[in-house]
């Protein structure tokens, strides 16, 4: 199994499909703007949230730096509280471990709250292949699970579907024979609630991701607005929390600073509706919580990022703020990226986790270098520089066409001297006269935009003529 699943369609197909999808275009514009405006307003009216962000960023960087020690500490603590910890290096290791627990407990039905990491390791496919009934419970994830699709936004997985499509989907997949399904959004939500409620009550195993893992106390924090993660952590007998190792934070102080950031940056709330803080399985005298709690700590390529030039990317808290401001994401949505991680963070993370062969085109084709992502990122991850750096890798690995590569080389050589620059002006005028403009890079411009002409007298030529004899 690959480290990171990849949409086999090539970029131009993914791109054009997205650009022609009018439902996607409308919803995407609405969702990204709404979330972004909410983010800006939330920090503006909450100075202590901004102050906490700055502290959280610094401590998160340190936590990543020291994660070896901290992960050991977290494991010790979880074990001491009666939980079980599994370190998993690969997607297969996660699948095998979860299946083994499921077998021990004769699990038939699994309910899940939203988790990017389980998308990354294709857990649903692994569990379903073994005959388990797996149910996503976040409304958006539920919709795309029924449609056999991938999330189009970290926070709004079904952002590409409208109410009519969802109504038809429910009728075709989960509605009982003859059951009426309304197109009203409120009603569609109620319908999903009722269907999923049955799943919650009958599930034997719950699976969640985790927003944070606190080393000091061995605590996992899960944040949702719908309340589905609360159901997943409260109802089934067995709970498995699957967490990327970069989710580690040092201690309770660090948690206090960072705990609000996903909601502030992601949806513009000071906290999401539900924050679940798990530090162990059900205490004997307590009404609820899982009888057994497993925490799977996933590497899957993260150790390779650690200690290298892209280490800051491990500070990501998956808030989605960079997606909402990215001009390219606003056009093509999550499916354009062909990876479960989309937007600017996906542009960096996907090639790092899944390799340049699979995702090398993301840095080149899905970034205009506008820096909006860096400005929006609560953890101040220098995404634009990381994207430039990945482009450098693509160049050094000769992933561009020979024509383009040569063009950059000649261009760079020529313009590194005044004489070369002047020669290129002459050459450009000649090409213009001969109408040879449809080669290499320039060809990309011409189909949709009028090409500017090199001036008959450039500014420098004019200046030189007028000031030749020191007349200034």
């Amino acid at each position: 199994m690959e480290h990171l699943p990849q949409d086999p369609r090539p970029w131009p197909v993914r791109r054009d499909t997205a650009l022609q999808d009018t439902v996607l275009q409308t919803t995407l514009t609405h969702v990204t703007h709404r979330l972004n405006n909410a983010r800006i307003a939330a920090y503006r009216h909450y100075p202590s949230g901004e102050a906490a962000r700055i502290r959280a960023k610094a401590r998160k960087r340190e936590a990543i730096q020291d994660w070896g020690v901290l992960l050991d500490q977290a494991e010790e603590q979880i074990t001491a509280h009666g939980g079980h910890v599994k370190r998993a290096a690969t997607p297969e290791a996660v699948g095998a471990y979860v299946l083994e627990i499921a077998r021990q407990h004769s699990v038939k039905r699994v309910i899940k709250s939203k988790s990017m990491v389980t998308e990354e390791v294709q857990l649903n496919a692994q569990l379903e292949a073994a005959g388990l009934d797996v149910r996503e419970t976040d409304l958006g994830e539920y919709i795309i699970q029924l449609a056999h699709e991938k999330p189009s936004h970290i926070l709004a997985p079904a952002a590409h579907k409208n109410r009519q499509q969802i109504q038809r989907l429910f009728v075709d997949t989960v509605a009982d024979a003859g059951e009426e399904v309304s197109e009203d959004i409120q009603e569609l939500t109620r319908f999903a609630r009722n269907k999923l409620r049955q799943d919650f009550l009958s599930a034997d195993m719950g699976i969640t991701g985790g927003n944070f893992l606190v080393a000091e106390t061995g605590t996992v924090v899960v944040i949702t607005n719908e309340g589905n993660a609360d159901m997943v952590t409260t109802m089934p007998r067995v709970l498995v929390s699957i967490i990327g190792i970069e989710k580690i934070v040092q201690d309770w102080d660090a948690l206090e600073d960072i705990i609000q950031q996903p909601a502030l940056s992601g949806v513009g709330q000071r906290l999401s509706s539900y924050t679940t803080i798990i530090s162990g399985p059900r205490a004997r005298e307590s009404w609820e919580g899982p009888d057994e709690w497993h925490v799977v700590l996933l590497d899957n390529g993260r150790q390779n990022i650690h200690g290298g030039p892209y280490q800051d990317v491990l500070s990501c808290i998956r808030c989605g703020a960079c997606l909402n401001v990215c001009p390219v994401f606003r056009q093509v949505g999550g499916h354009g990226y062909g990876s479960v991680y989309s937007g600017p963070i996906g542009t960096v993370l996907s090639p790092l986790l899944g390799g340049m062969d699979a995702f090398g085109e993301l840095p080149s084709h899905l970034c205009t270098m506008c820096y909006a992502c860096q400005e929006a990122c609560p953890m101040d991850i220098p995404l634009p520089h990381e994207i430039i750096s990945l482009r450098e890798t693509a160049v050094s690995e000769r992933r561009e066409s020979a024509t383009v590569r040569t063009q950059y080389r000649l261009w760079g050589q020529a313009w590194s001297t005044a004489a070369g620059y002047r020669r290129s002006v002459t050459a450009a005028r000649l090409a213009q006269r001969l109408a040879i403009r449809r080669v290499g890079l320039a060809a990309g411009w011409l189909h949709t935009r009028t090409m500017p002409f090199v001036s008959s007298v450039t500014f420098l030529e004019d200046w030189a003529k007028k000031h030749r004899r020191g007349t200034s």
Binding site: T189, R197, N225, L271, S273, T276, I277
Partner: protein, 193 residues
């Protein structure tokens, strides 16, 4: 009302919750009647209450609920492992869950519940309505202070839940809908006793 109470109420309401001040201990009865009259539905008459030792004493819960067609279940009478399934079944059927809280925070409009022998998290989650009884002295100015209290309690509760408003989603066309998996109707009664 204290500063923290009124700041909490404002923030809680802005999130879509309801908050009612209870001015004097004598006002608990009329306040409860007012809020339960809007919560109890004839199709789901069960009202489950988990008194965590933080409730105002001496209230006629059975009578209040009956007045609006509800049936009150004092869950603490079911204490013990052997009643686990019975409790779950009851909560699953209930139309209203009533709980106290471990603490609340004004700046985020948050109510914190710990999973203990006397508190049920599912009562705050499964029924369509959730009523929280809150003492003014339980309300911190910030959620950070509340979190510090969780940690300072020595042994961490195995499950802590922070509720900041009703269950909601915007997963269909980005349109906000209240009450997905958790309750859509969340109300706090805030007073002293």
């Amino acid at each position: 009302m204290t500063d923290n109470s009124s700041a909490f109420s404002t923030q809680w309401q802005s999130l879509g919750g309801q908050a009612y001040p209870v001015a004097t201990p004598n006002d608990w009865l009329p306040s409860l009647r007012a809020v339960l009259s809007t919560m109890i539905e004839p199709t789901t008459p069960a009202v489950v209450g988990f008194d965590n030792g933080q409730w105002p004493p001496g209230l006629p819960w059975n009578a209040i609920c009956e007045e609006f067609g509800g049936v009150f279940y004092d869950m603490n009478s079911l204490y013990g492992e052997s009643h686990l399934q019975a409790v779950r079944d009851l909560v699953t059927q209930a139309g209203v869950g009533i709980t106290g809280a471990a603490w609340a925070a004004a700046d985020t409009g948050t109510v914190a519940l710990y999973a203990t022998a006397r508190t049920s998290l599912s009562a705050s989650l499964l029924p369509p309505s959730h009523l929280i009884l809150l003492k003014q002295s339980q309300i911190y100015e910030t959620v950070t202070q509340g979190l510090k209290a969780v940690h300072a309690s020595g042994s961490l509760p195995h499950l802590v839940k922070l509720i900041s408003g009703p269950s909601m989603t915007a997963d269909i066309e980005g349109q906000l809908v209240i009450g997905v998996h958790g309750p859509g109707h969340v109300a706090c009664l805030i007073g002293d006793w």
